[in-house]
Symmetry: C2
Subunit: 394 residues, 2 copies
Amino acid sequence: MQPENAHQARVLTSLRRDGPQAAVELAAQLSLSRSKIGQELARLEEMGFVERAGKAESRGGRRSGLVQLSGRLRFVGVDIGATSLDVGVIDGRLDIVAQTSEVIDIEAGPEPILGRAVEMIGKLRAGGHLPRLDGIGVGVPGPVSFRDGYTVSPPIMPGWDRFPVREHVMQQFDCPVLVDNDVNLMAVGEMYSGLAQSVADFLFVKIGTGIGCGIITGHRVLRGSNGSAGDIGHIALHDTGPVCRCGRTGCLEACFSGAALSRDATALARGGESPGLRDLLVGRQVLTAEDVGVAMRAGDPQALGLVRDGGRRLGRVLSGLVNFCNPAMIVVGGGVSKLGHVLLAEVRSELYRRSTPLATSSLPIVLSELGDNAGILGAAAMISDHVLGVSPES
Amino acid sequence: MQPENAHQARVLTSLRRDGPQAAVELAAQLSLSRSKIGQELARLEEMGFVERAGKAESRGGRRSGLVQLSGRLRFVGVDIGATSLDVGVIDGRLDIVAQTSEVIDIEAGPEPILGRAVEMIGKLRAGGHLPRLDGIGVGVPGPVSFRDGYTVSPPIMPGWDRFPVREHVMQQFDCPVLVDNDVNLMAVGEMYSGLAQSVADFLFVKIGTGIGCGIITGHRVLRGSNGSAGDIGHIALHDTGPVCRCGRTGCLEACFSGAALSRDATALARGGESPGLRDLLVGRQVLTAEDVGVAMRAGDPQALGLVRDGGRRLGRVLSGLVNFCNPAMIVVGGGVSKLGHVLLAEVRSELYRRSTPLATSSLPIVLSELGDNAGILGAAAMISDHVLGVSPES
C-alpha cells in the first residue's frame, strides 16, 4: 500500500523528518485546510501509515492530538554480496529491529540465492519481527537498471544478467520491491544512519575485492543513465601496469583493491622479500588483504609499502573526482578499509596535493562506522522512501 | 513577484512543460477541486503569470477556457566572460526575443563590468524589449557560492572575490536575481534549448582558454558542496609535464586548452618545425588555437598532431568521469571546440578504449549547436525556473 496523493506523501515526509506533530501544524505547513488535513490523516490512519500519539499543549491552552508514523511499519533490507547474504528489518524511523546473515556464493545464481533470502525473511516473520511487511529493498553487487529492477552485464554474477530480481521477490511477498547496486545502497545507509547524515553531497568508497563508489548529490543517489555510475574501479591510472579482470591495463582496482593486495602480498612472500608476509604464507596458497594488515601492524616494511602505495593510487583517482564533483565528505568502507588510518593518511595526502584548494578546503575523509550494516540499512531506507512517498531531501 | 504557494508553482510547471491547458485538466492533474484551481488561476492571472488563451473542445461538447503562461513574461540572461559580455532577453517559453554583446576585460573589476551590464539592460528596455522584467540570471567565469550570489576565489577575476554580484544587480532592478558559474549555465542552456533536451544526465565540456565542465544529473545542475564542481581543468594527467597556472604540474588544461595550444603552436612555429604555423606567425607575437585550426585544415601535420594529442588527453580525463557518473551524452562547446570533428574523433576513440562498455554503450559525444547563446539562454532559464517555482524535472 502507498499514499494515494501528493498531500499524503508530504504529510509522511514531514512526520519522518520532524517526528510527531499536531494536525494543525501539518495543515499550516502544507497550506491545507483543517478539514482537508483531517481527511488525509484519517485515510493514512486507515492504511496503517500513521497513528495518534500523545497530546500536545496548543498555544491557546487547548490540547490537540499529535500524529506520528505508525510504530508497526516494517521494511526489509536484503544485501546480497559476493560471499554473504544479509537481511535486516527496520521500522519507520529506520532503526534496525532484527537482522540475520548467511554465507553464500553469488555464482550459485539468482534462484537459489533469492530463495535463501526469501527463507530468511520467512524466519524473521516467524520470529515475530514482521507484524507487517511494507516493502523490500534489495542490493546486488553489480550494475542495476533501477527502473527495471534487474542487473545489467554484472561482471561477477554469472546467470544474473537481466534476471527479474524485483518481479521474483514481489511474487513471493506481494509488497513493493526495489533493487539497486549494493554500493549505492551502502551510501544511502551512510546518508541516513552514518557519518554523512549532515551533508547533502558525498562519496562512499567501498574497497573490497574490487573498488566501487556510491555518489550522493543533493541527498539523492546518482545512478547515471544506465545504472553504472560509481564504477571507479576501472578508471585508468596508468597506460601500462597490471592487467585487470576487465581486460584493460592499469585500472585502479588492478593496482589497488583486495584482490590486488592479495596478489602483490603473495608475490612478495614467495619472492622472500618480506619475512613477515613469508611467515604468514606458511601452509597456505595465497595471502589476503587482512594478512597485509596483520604484517603491517607487526612492523613489516613491505606490507606497509603496499598499503601506502595503494592509498596513493586511490587518492590519485579520488583527487580527480573531488575536482569534478566537489563533495562535502568522503566515507571509506568495505573490508579493505580495515587497513585504517595508514591507508587514509595516504589518500588524504594525495588528495590535498592534487585537488584544487577550494574543493579540499573543508573535506573530511573518514572511515565508515556502520560496517556491515550499511547495506541492509540503505536497502531498507530506499524502499521506505519509496513506499511512504518520502522525498529524501529535508 | 513569485508564486504564493506550492499549488501555483505546480500549475506554472505544468503550463511551461505541456503548454496551454484547460482549468479542469489542471485540477485533475494536481488533485485540486475546481473551485480551488479557479482561485489559484485567478491569483496567477492577477500577478501576470498566466493569461486566458483560446477555447478547447471539451469531451462533452462544451467549450472550456484554456490558460497559458503570460506572453509578456521577460527574463534577462547576463553572460560575463573573460573578454565578452552578452545580455539576452527571453520570454516564458525560453525563446530569445532580443540580445546584445560587448567586448570587456574581466580584470576591470566587478563595478565597471556590472555597470556595463546594467546599461545594456537599460538599452534593451528603452528598445521596448522589456515590457516587464521578471528576473535576471547572471553567469560569471569562476566558482560561485550559489546561495550567496557571489564568486569564491575566482582564479581569473581579480577584485571579484566575494563581491556581492546578486545584491548589486538586485539593487538596480528590484527583481529576483541568481548568479552561477558560466559553464553550469551553458549546460542549463543545452538542457533547455540544445542537443541535450532529451536526456536527464549529461556533461557539457567547455574548451576555451581553460577547460571546465557543467554537470547535469536528473535535470539539475550539480554544483557540489561549495560551488566548484565541474572544475576538470586541474585534474592530473601526468605527474610531470607543463606547469599549470594553478602552480601544479600535469593538469589537463596545462596539457590541452586554448592557452596550451597557443603556447605549443607558437613554440613549433618559432622552432621552425611546422612551416604552416611558422607562416602564420609572421609579424605576430603568438599563435592562437584558431590558428592551429587554420593550419590543420591546410594540411599541416604538426598542427594536426597538436589537435590529436589534445583530443586524446581530454578523452583520457573524460573516460574516468564517464565511468564515474555514467552520463547519457557529452556536449562539447567553447571556442576551441571549433577544431571540430578531428578533435571529437580522438576524444571518442580514447573514451571507447578506456571507459567500461556499459558506460559507453550508448553515449553520443556531440558539438554544441548553441554557440555563444548557450550562456544567456542558461542564465535566463535558471532565473525563470526560480521565479516561476518551476521544477526542471519533467
